[in-house]
């Protein structure tokens, strides 16, 4: 059977799609002419991937998954559809619609609908499910991933520790769940490694999306002496820009929010996770796995955002320190500690 191995960026998308169409046409013609078994024709069909999100795709966490799947659609020749703002009450129905509709891989974030997603997956052993989750995978078909981006958070902290003049750095975060705690703690640990006099402050806004509140929390920290602030949530960079202090972004490259304010920040790249999951499903070897490791820096699943305007402004010694530590992390000789305890202001 014709096999598409077009997952590299070297081949133009148009060419890829043409190849696949040709392949599908060939298979179809063959099926009609020679009465080939139906499954052979099906194998040439595009893999159908669906995503179910609890929030609108603007939510930064969800957006990173969505962006990677769009890339997969362009580069891996899959079909991709998604449903956003699916509340718990509808979650099972939407998942079942996709599972019944011939979708081979269903992805999403299931923090609020954890049990529902797992229950539905049990009923469809032939469909692969890969969901963002804080707990483990479940055989035979429920794989998980998570935003393991504590490594770049640590690197950002090192920069913050060097750049703070008041020796006080801050984190404005959503709520103290493990996903948030490990980033906050890694940031603080990085700051302390670079500058042992640093004190860390932490504020939680109690929701995942409330930019006006996050902004107020940031302003409160700035009044308390924080001059480099980690914007775990949207709304913080605006406060930092207004008050002329520095910020570290989160989740995606957010330099455009404030080119002079945002130095850099951890970026979560779901591409390695998505690519691996799709490859497994396509080759028929999907098993329930914890794909969290694909979000580590070593796999390209996370990295430090480019410095942009700060390329020139950041002192060379800081850049060197970060580059050295990055290399150690990539070489596997340095491990950033995973600390999921609830951080406390000091």
């Amino acid at each position: 059977m014709f096999k598409t191995t077009t997952d590299g960026p070297c081949r133009p998308a148009a060419f890829t799609s043409l190849m696949q169409r040709a392949a599908a046409l060939l298979a179809l013609t063959a099926a009609i002419l020679f009465g080939a078994p139906a499954e052979q024709a099906a194998a040439a069909e595009k893999l159908k991937v669906a995503a179910v999100f609890e929030t609108p795709i603007e939510e930064p966490w969800v957006n990173q998954i969505h962006v990677a799947l769009l890339k997969a659609k362009a580069e891996l020749g899959i079909e991709y559809v998604w449903s956003e703002s699916v509340k718990s009450a509808d979650f099972a129905r939407v998942m079942r619609d996709y599972a019944d509709g011939g979708y081979g891989l269903i992805m999403g974030d299931s923090f609020g609908a954890e049990r529902i997603a797992r229950r539905v997956a049990k009923d469809y052993p032939n469909v692969a499910f890969v969901f963002g989750s804080g707990i483990g995978p479940a055989e035979p078909n429920f794989g998980v991933f998570d935003n393991w981006i504590h490594e770049p958070a640590y690197l950002s902290g090192m920069i913050a520790g060097k750049m703070t003049k008041s020796n006080t750095v801050g984190v404005v975060a959503a709520m103290p769940i493990p996903e948030v705690n490990r980033l906050s703690n890694a940031f603080c640990a990085g700051a302390k490694e670079a500058n042992e006099k640093v004190k860390c402050k932490f504020s939680f806004i109690g929701s995942f999306f409330d930019p006006p509140k996050a902004k107020e929390a940031a302003l409160a920290q700035i009044e308390a002496g924080v001059d480099v602030i980690y914007a775990e949530r949207f709304g913080v960079v605006e406060a930092a820009a207004e008050k002329g202090v520095l910020a570290i972004s989160n989740m995606s490259d957010q330099a455009e929010l404030g080119p002079d304010t945002v130095i850099t920040g951890p970026v979560w790249d779901m591409w390695p996770t998505v690519k691996y999951a799709i490859a497994m499903v396509k080759s028929g070897v999907f098993t329930a796995q914890d794909l969290g490791g694909f979000s580590y820096m070593g796999k390209g699943g996370s990295y430090l955002a480019p410095y942009h305007a700060w390329e020139k402004k950041l002192p060379a010694e800081v850049k060197k320190m970060v580059a050295d530590r990055t290399k150690e992390i990539l070489d596997g000789t340095y491990r950033v500690n995973v600390d999921e305890s609830i951080p406390q202001s000091e």
Partner: protein, 314 residues
């Protein structure tokens, strides 16, 4: 401990209180007008969200913030008219209509946003309102920076409270409005058009809620995102009760809520004690409820609140 207190009770703390209170004051006064006329406007949360979206989009494309505010008010007025159609003309349950309007407006806000802006990975933003320092007054030590260095809309909120009290208690229209809310049959007998008065109250209510929503997406923040309202509308419903349907007391309630919210954010940043953060986040809500229980024991809602009016019918 003294050090922490000094850290917290800075000028910025009181300025934050006023900033947080402003949208609450607008929406609470809006809700108050509707309830004084006998209609509980539970569309508040959705009206604020839709207005935040409409105001932001209008400002984004026109480049004029004040045009955005006008558009947000227009969206609020239209929502108020819809609320009027459901509860005044059709006489439907005010609870159900209000929740319906909130659901419709919320859905509409995201739907229109998606139509207009597509799916940006970074929310588009505008240059938000900048604080305007009032000459001379802003130079007064302590009080100046606390009161007189704010967004223009904050000053509008200062003016709104006495203005609302004046309109309600010192003008014929205010008297009509209160009578319609207390005893629509008597008002009708006296020649007041009950339906028209309620429509007017709902439109005014929507316009003020519109400003509140637009404040959040255009002054407090510079983009429309989901979660931009985050239940603030529901807080305002409680503040009206807390304020015993009086503009002054309601504004006081909004300031108290904002004070505690500003305080908890600073306590979080300065906390040396091991207190779960939820305790801090809860504070404004808990203390408002406690305050409400203590202060509002004699509160009396407008007698005709929740009751549709049909002529010739008891």
């Amino acid at each position: 401990m003294d050090e922490i207190l000094a850290q917290i009770f800075q000028i910025g703390f009181f300025a934050a209180m006023i900033r947080i209170a402003t949208p609450l004051i607008f929406a609470t006064i809006g809700e108050l007008f509707a309830e004084r006329a006998g209609v509980l406007n539970l569309g508040i949360e959705g009206i604020m969200l839709l207005s935040a979206m409409v105001g932001f989009s209008a400002a984004y494309f026109s480049g004029s913030l004040w045009f955005g505010i006008a558009a947000a008010m227009a969206a609020g007025v239209l929502s108020g008219m819809l609320m009027g159609l459901l509860t005044v003309t059709l006489g439907l349950s005010q609870h159900v209509s209000g929740i319906g309007v909130t659901l419709l407006n919320s859905g509409l806000a995201f739907f229109l946003y998606r139509l207009i802006f597509g799916q940006p990975s970074m929310p588009p933003n505008i240059v938000a309102f900048k604080p305007v320092a009032i000459p001379l007054l802003s130079e007064i030590p302590v009080i100046g920076p606390i009161l007189f260095n704010h967004h223009a809309l904050v000053y509008a909120a200062f003016i709104l409270v006495p203005l609302a009290a004046f309109i309600l208690f010192r003008t014929p229209w205010g008297l009509n409005l209160r009578t319609v809310g207390e005893n629509p049959h008597a008002a009708d007998g006296a020649g007041v058009n009950v339906a028209a008065t309620r429509y007017q109250a709902l439109m005014l209510s929507g316009a003020l809620m519109g400003v509140a929503g637009a404040f959040l997406s255009m002054a407090q923040f510079n983009a429309f995102t989901f979660g931009v309202i985050s239940g603030r509308g529901w807080v305002c419903i409680a503040l009206v009760v807390f304020g015993q349907w009086s503009p002054w007391r309601a504004a006081g309630g909004a300031l108290l809520f904002a004070l505690i919210d500003a305080l908890q954010l600073r306590l979080q940043a300065n906390s040396y004690i091991d207190v779960p953060y939820q305790v801090f986040l809860m504070m404004p809500f808990v203390l408002t409820i406690v305050g409400m229980a203590l202060v509002s024991r004699n509160a009396r809602a407008p007698a005709a609140l929740l009751m549709p009016f049909r002529k010739e019918e008891r």
